[in-house]
C-alpha cells in the first residue's frame, strides 16, 4: 500500500483532488483557497511597519491560512519523506535534453540539487534563482493579489476575468524566466 502510494500520482487523480480543496475550504469556513496571502499575514504579524497594507487583524483574517500553510509543511513531510518516490521525476526526454544543455546535471530529485542547497545559494545561479526568484514570487503575488492557487485555480473556477489576466501574466513571466533569464545565469 505504501509502495503503491509512493509512486508518482497521475494528473487526472491529483488535479481533481486539488480542485476539491476549493469546496472543502468553503464548506469549512467560507474560506477561498489562496496561499500567497500568507506572505502578507507573516509581514503583518512580524513587521507591519507603517504600511496600511499590513495593518489589519491578521489573526482573524489570516490565522486559518497560516494553519493551512503549516498543514502544507506536514503534507510535504508525508508526501516527500514517508511516501517518497525513489525514482527521478519522469519528465520528457526533450526537457532533460534542454536542461542538460543549460547545465543541469543532477536529475535525481524533485529539484536540481546543485542549486537548491546552502552551497548552491552562493553561486550566481543559486542566488538569482532562490533569492531573486523568491523575491519576485513574494512581490508579484502580493501585487497581483494571488498566486496559482488564488488566481489559476480559485479565480478561474470562479470565472474571474482578473484571474485570467493574472494567469496570462504568470505565463509571460514564466516564459521570460525560462528562455531569457535561465540561459543567462546557468
Amino acid at each position: 500500500m505504501v509502495e503503491f502510494l509512493s509512486r508518482p500520482w497521475p494528473w487526472y487523480v491529483a488535479g481533481p483532488l486539488i480542485g476539491l480543496t476549493v469546496p472543502i475550504l468553503l464548506l469549512l469556513g467560507n474560506r477561498m483557497l489562496g496561499i500567497s496571502s500568507n506572505f502578507r499575514h507573516l509581514c503583518a504579524a512580524v513587521s507591519p511597519g507603517r504600511s496600511e497594507f499590513f495593518r489589519y487583524d491578521w489573526k482573524r483574517v489570516g490565522g486559518w491560512n497560516l494553519v493551512f500553510a503549516l498543514g502544507l509543511v506536514l503534507g510535504g513531510y508525508l508526501g516527500g519523506v514517508v511516501l517518497a518516490s525513489p525514482d527521478p521525476v519522469a519528465i520528457s526526454a526533450a526537457t532533460v535534453a534542454d536542461l542538460q544543455a543549460l547545465g543541469v546535471e543532477d536529475f535525481s530529485g524533485l529539484v536540481p540539487s546543485d542549486v537548491f542547497s546552502w552551497a548552491g545559494l552562493f553561486s550566481l545561479k543559486g542566488f538569482v534563482m532562490l533569492v531573486l526568484g523568491g523575491f519576485l514570487v513574494g512581490f508579484g503575488t502580493a501585487y497581483a493579489g494571488g498566486c496559482t492557487s488564488g488566481h489559476a485555480i480559485s479565480g478561474l473556477a470562479d470565472l474571474q476575468p482578473a484571474s485570467l489576466i493574472a494567469v496570462v501574466g504568470f505565463f509571460i513571466g514564466g516564459l521570460i524566466g525560462t528562455f531569457v533569464v535561465l540561459p543567462l545565469i546557468f
Binding site: 500520482w9 494528473w11 491529483a14 483532488l17 486539488i18 469546496p23 468553503l26 469549512l28 469556513g29 467560507n30 474560506r31 483557497l33 496561499i35 506572505f39 497594507f53 486559518w64 494553519v67 500553510a69 498543514g71 502544507l72 509543511v73 506536514l74 503534507g75 508526501g79 511516501l83 519528465i91 520528457s92 526533450a94 526537457t95 529539484v111 536540481p112 537548491f116 532562490l130 533569492v131 526568484g133 523575491f135 519576485l136 514570487v137 513574494g138 512581490f139 508579484g140 503575488t141 501585487y143 493579489g145 498566486c147 496559482t148 489559476a152 480559485s154 473556477a157 470565472l159 482578473a162 489576466i165 493574472a166 496570462v168 501574466g169 504568470f170 513571466g173 514564466g174 525560462t178 535561465l182
Partner: protein
C-alpha cells in the same frame, strides 16, 4: 436551528470549535501538500517542462483542478450552501479596472515561478520535505511582499 441563530453564528466562539477549525485547516493543508508532492507539482523540473510546453502533465493537473473547483462552486451556489460556521458561502468578485496589477504583478510572479520552480504553496511543502534552504526563498518572498506593501501607494493597480 433558526435562520437568525445561523446568521449570528460566531466563527470560533468556543474553544472546541476553535480547535476543530485549527485541525480542519491543518488537515486540508496537509492533504493539499501531500497531493502537490505526489503529483510532482512542486518539482522544478516539472515546472520547466510546463513552461517549455513539453508535457501535458501540469496542464492536465491545472485544468482538472479548475474544472472540479468550478463545478463545485456552481453546485455550492445553486444549493445555497452554508459553511460549517453557519454563514452563506459567498465568493467576492475581483475588481478588474484596466488590470494593471494583474498584468504586472502576474508577470513578476511568473518570472519568480520559473526561477524557483515553485509558487507559494510548494515553498511551504519543500520545508516539510527537509529542503532547509527553502527558508531563504520564503524569507525573500516575505521581503518581496513587504516591499510591495511599501511601494503600493505609488504603483498602478486598476
Amino acid at each position: 436551528m433558526s435562520a437568525t441563530v445561523m446568521e449570528r453564528a460566531d466563527r470560533g466562539s468556543t474553544a472546541l470549535s476553535r480547535l476543530g477549525g485549527f485541525l480542519g485547516y491543518l488537515l486540508v493543508g496537509a492533504f493539499f501538500g501531500l497531493v502537490m508532492t505526489k503529483s510532482e507539482a512542486i518539482s522544478w523540473f516539472r515546472i520547466q517542462e510546463m513552461f517549455r510546453f513539453q508535457s501535458f502533465h501540469m496542464y492536465g493537473l491545472i485544468f482538472t483542478a479548475v474544472g472540479v473547483a468550478a463545478l463545485s462552486l456552481f453546485v455550492l451556489r445553486r444549493t445555497g450552501a452554508r459553511a460549517l460556521t453557519g454563514e452563506r458561502i459567498v465568493v467576492p468578485p475581483k475588481e478588474l479596472g484596466r488590470g494593471y496589477r494583474y498584468w504586472i504583478g502576474g508577470t513578476m510572479f511568473g518570472l519568480g515561478w520559473a526561477l524557483t520552480g515553485a509558487c507559494p504553496g510548494p515553498l511551504f511543502v519543500h520545508l516539510g520535505r527537509g529542503v532547509s534552504v527553502i527558508l531563504v526563498v520564503i524569507a525573500s518572498a516575505v521581503l518581496g511582499t513587504r516591499l510591495y506593501g511599501h511601494l503600493r501607494p505609488k504603483l498602478p493597480h486598476y
